[in-house]
């Protein structure tokens, strides 16, 4: 058969795509580059200013703040959400009933809009909100928790030691022993609490102003930290779905062989699971980095509630220099900042591929 070439029909089919790419990407990109070298402000006659915008940008403390925030945010959130998502996926990757139900349930935070989720969290993280109340409760009941944990560990150790001495292959986390340990811990804690031997720790009510503050924790502004927490919570499920799909492709035989060799669950995770899902890991980390570096929504939503300096990120800085500041729109600065963000995304993603997880599979 003659080799066809359907460039005519191809062109018609691709027309909408080509229009979008040409106008909304190419034209837009070129214009943004052009604006970044001018002092355009939507109204005045435009002058070419060379690299002035970039120089100004890097001497603007707000921009440097936004840059640091974006980088810190991307590093911490990507790492934590990948870890948390992998944990969720490993827990879910079992042959048990009701798996679809749990998978569906864990995905719920992902389907709500960022505004809805942020609103709920602004409420929960009120100075006198539920999160602070829970923290207070945990802090005050800490002696009981610690006692219970100690009892569980002690009882577990005794039982496992006993079993092993009698030739039974008891694992360190033997489930039946764990159950007995939990029961014993409950009884002991309740008893000691009844007789007043162990008392709740008396501490003041936790009143952390999660959003409405300029305080920082470990150099990270508290509002940004709050956004990190809620962001990890909302994005981890997406990553979990990707991991689950990857986990289901790992050959079962690998685990069976490892069992024969007497591998512990941790070793199996470290030496089989993680290498086998390398391609998914690459995807998750890359998507995570792109998403977190370009975080805008939460910064914009909380910006009126938290101080601007505590939540500003690169993406929000771009918007803010155009529409947020009480000056004329600084199109040049905004364009330069947007390009910095684009280059940063590209560099970080490439760097990640180089030194972190690449998309190449391990056993392929």
């Amino acid at each position: 058969m003659r080799k066809r070439s359907d460039w005519a029909s191809g062109f018609i089919f691709l027309l909408p795509l080509l229009f979008t790419l040409a106008v909304a990407f190419l034209y837009a990109f070129v214009r943004t580059v052009y604006f970044s070298f001018t002092d355009y402000n939507l109204f005045r006659i435009t002058h070419f200013v060379g690299f002035d915008n970039y120089v100004q940008l890097f001497s603007d403390p707000r921009f440097m703040l936004a840059l640091t925030h974006s980088l810190v945010f991307a590093a911490i959130v990507t790492a934590s959400q990948t870890f948390f998502a992998l944990l969720l996926a490993v827990v879910l990757n079992q042959k048990i009933r009701g798996l679809t139900f749990f998978r569906a349930t864990y995905y719920v935070p992902c389907i709500a809009s960022s505004v809805a989720i942020t609103t709920v969290f602004v409420w929960l993280m009120n100075r006198r909100g539920t999160i602070n109340w829970l923290l207070t409760a945990i802090g005050r009941n800490f002696p009981f928790v610690a006692l219970g944990l100690a009892v569980v560990i002690a009882v577990q150790a005794i039982q496992v030691y006993w079993d092993r001495r009698h030739g039974l292959p008891a694992r360190a986390l033997d489930p039946v022993h764990l159950g007995i340990g939990l029961l014993a811990a409950t009884v002991v804690t309740v008893m000691l609490a009844q007789f007043g031997v162990v008392r709740p720790y008396s501490m003041a009510e936790v009143a952390i102003p999660w959003f409405t503050t300029r305080q920082a924790f470990l150099g990270i502004p508290l509002p940004l930290l709050s956004i990190m927490m809620l962001n990890i919570w909302t994005t981890a499920p997406t990553m979990m779905i990707l991991f689950l799909a990857g986990l289901q492709d790992v050959p079962r035989e690998l685990y069976e062989v490892a069992d024969l060799d007497g591998a512990t669950p941790w070793q199996k995770l470290r030496y089989i699971t993680v290498p086998a899902i390398r391609p998914v890991m690459f995807l998750v980390i890359t998507l995570g980095l792109i998403g977190t570096l370009q975080m805008f929504d939460q910064a914009a939503i909380t910006s009126g509630i938290a101080p601007l300096e505590s939540v500003i990120t690169l993406a929000y800085y771009v918007y803010w220099s155009l529409f947020g500041a009480r000056t004329l729109p600084r199109v040049g600065m905004a364009s330069a900042a947007a390009l910095v963000l684009a280059v940063l995304t590209l560099v970080v993603v490439l760097l990640q591929r180089r030194v972190g997880f690449s998309e190449r599979g391990w056993y392929s």
């Binding site: 080799k3 359907d6 990109f29 604006f35 827990v91 749990f102 935070p109 389907i111 809009s113 684009a342």
Partner: protein
Amino acid sequence: MNEERELAPVRYRGRVYYVDAQWLARRRVMRKTITYSLLVLLAVFMVGPLVYSFFSNDPLSWPPKLASPKLWPPNWAAAWSLGVQGAGNGWTGGWAPGGKIEFGVAFRYPGGDTDPPLPRAQLLAPPYELGVPNPVPVTQAEVTPWQERPTEDGGLEVAYKVILTHQGSETYPLLPLAIIGAPGSKFITATLPPDSLSTRVSGTYVTWRNVAPGAIGYLFDHYVRAWTTFKGEGGRLLFPRWIGNSFLIAALRVVITVVFATMAGYALSRLRFPGRNFLFFFVIFTMMIPGQVTMISNYLVVRDGVFGLSKLVGLDTFLNTFWALFLPALVSSSAVFMMKQFMESIPKEIEEAARIDGANTFQIYTRIILPLSLPAIAAVSILTFQGAWNEFFWPMVVLTQPKKYTLPLGLNYLLHYYQAGATGSVWNMILAGTVISVIPVLVIYILFQRYFIEGFHLSGIKQ
């Protein structure tokens, strides 16, 4: 009798043990129990905050109330009965002429007070709208002692009957009430749980937003208020409008995306033309470019009416119109990517057979490719709907009038508008609005779960 024990092999640390089968079975059951407990715990962690905000009744109370009285069915019955007494309507309640409500309330008086003064019942103005004063319903309130009993610590508990009689000729949608107990008294219980409770020197103030709510008026009070309270210019209700806007935009986006993305996906996966691979690479590349880079120029393009195209529909600018929402996202790169990935898995032979039968490219697209791509189309539609429903950044750039807002913008507007002095009742409405905004995607998610997962597989795994 020598009972033979059943043995089962267990591999552990490279050795094989033979253990009692029951020993092993016990471990299996226990492991399952622990796994399920863990799964349930995680489920609470993942959906807890949302469910909690669905049901929260008194959002700013301290300590926070984890359970709402609205979850307690006897209260629904009480609300129904009060609605019937107030306006003969058990569903939505109200305060109509001829209404007569018997309302019970009980206080405790500690320490030797044998003849405590009667609590006062005070009718309040219904806050139909924020900041607008309203007349107090013309109503007579009469408080009579009903039952009393001494408490163990020498105090006295008294239950009162409060009889409210409608005296005017107007119908009110709400009947707010305050009952003020004598100083030092403690509120115990009432026919309907109060909305707020405060102890002051002058007395114990117990207030209800509405003592004739009806079942729906009681359960969905915040939702009704969120719906009816926020008004834009000309007194138009904002909430229904935002919902309408969101639905309209999301639906149009789905249609446009499906049509254009299947067309582009087909061309990229099946048609041969120079530059195909480069174009596909470019599509992937655009997914990595932050929206902020293209936003600046796109904003200007939209402001100038997309090279004058807006003149065709009689507008000078597309700013603050829904047209603006479609320009930069006419074809979404990720949808094209997904469609292309899926269409590549359709066997080529089907297409070739059709071509031999004389079908042209367009016929192949409509008759063969589209019907075979239905699963991918479903996945793309659902993800597009969700994306459009939740979209925040671009609408925020191009829409600046509250009446043009979509739901996320509207919620953001409310959050910012009220954040300084948000009272519990405003928070109630904002949270109710949040819930309203989540429900459509939640329903779609529950119905079409499978396709969400499918969409992920298309976009991620099959590379």
